[in-house]
Symmetry: C2
Subunit: 161 residues, 2 copies
DNA sequence: GTTTTTGCAAAGAATTTGCAGCTTT
DNA sequence: AAAGCTGCAAATTCTTTGCAAAAAC
């Protein structure tokens, strides 16, 4: 990723931070930088370790808080189903997943077309390919219904305590 | 899923169990059944609760043990990256993931084609779609290298303690 | 100066493990 | 009878939270 891109994203986060009326602390700034610069998708601990090198005075819980706060603003996403417990999949036939971002419901669906996707050459540069699966994130009908019957519109945070 | 399919899978697990020289206990049988019958992808707790209804004498740790044992034999898979801690993704541009099944390394890749996949109609029946992403599982080059330098061929379990 | 954040340490949740006793083969 | 399982309870690991002190606006 080029330096420009990084600065741009960094700027976006700082901007979002003040837009949200939150304070710009050195901890947050360093966490932002780490989040923006990392190419892999780090967990809280990794970010903590890296930030720590530059800012000895940071704690793991601040990293967690900041990360989830960013996630709440939609500025970072979490990889995989969610921050849930490990889910198991006994479907050994080729299939794809629909994951509800609200409740974590995971359902399979099938598609011949999706079974045989062409991947870009760049993937081979990362590693050898074993299995390819499409993951659709969305909101399941049950959660959509649940939403309808809730308060139509307040200014509080939406759903999912 | 039709009854035939279920019985077939059930049979496969029981067979694999005895092939592996493991014992057929009532707990395992009920856990197998739950795993095979579930349409969503349950976590250990869910399976525990359901098995419990039919077999009061089962414990959560037996469920865990059985599930991971099945996973070790490749008879069930885990959904998402792995049994790892939550990973964060600050890449807000449209992208796809390569995940190393050995070390959990997660890297982004890009493809216009994959950005606009056509999903089968069946997906809409599950819920509303927000985002679609391709997840490629494989082994990253670093892990492949690591493997080469290890004992070429024993009969012990491969890598990753 | 006020309000938000932080760090600490303790609380919680999820998952794993040692061990004695019970079951399966 | 022998070897493998199971359940319990304690240990780990990961993550969150309450609160007083410190920092940002």
């Amino acid at each position: 990723m080029d330096k420009n891109e990084i600065e741009e994203r960094m700027h976006a986060l700082l901007q979002a931070c003040s837009d949200a009326g939150a304070r710009l602390t050195p901890q947050r700034i360093e966490i932002f930088r780490e989040v923006v610069e990392s190419e892999e998708h780090p967990d809280a601990e990794m970010i903590y370790q890296r930030v720590r090198e530059r800012l000895a005075t940071v704690s793991l819980d601040t990293v967690y808080r900041t990360l989830w706060w960013l996630a709440g603003l939609g500025l970072v996403a979490t990889v995989g189903p969610a921050k849930e417990s490990t889910r198991f999949d006994a479907n050994l036939t080729r299939h794809h997943h629909f994951v509800c971002v609200r409740c974590g419901l995971t359902r399979d669906f099938y598609s011949r077309d999706l079974d045989n996707l062409e991947l870009p050459a760049s993937v081979a540069a990362i590693g050898s390919i074993e299995r390819t699966q499409v993951e659709v994130k969305g909101i399941c009908h049950a959660c959509a219904e649940r939403q309808k019957s809730e308060v139509p519109a307040s200014q509080g945070e939406p759903g999912q305590a």
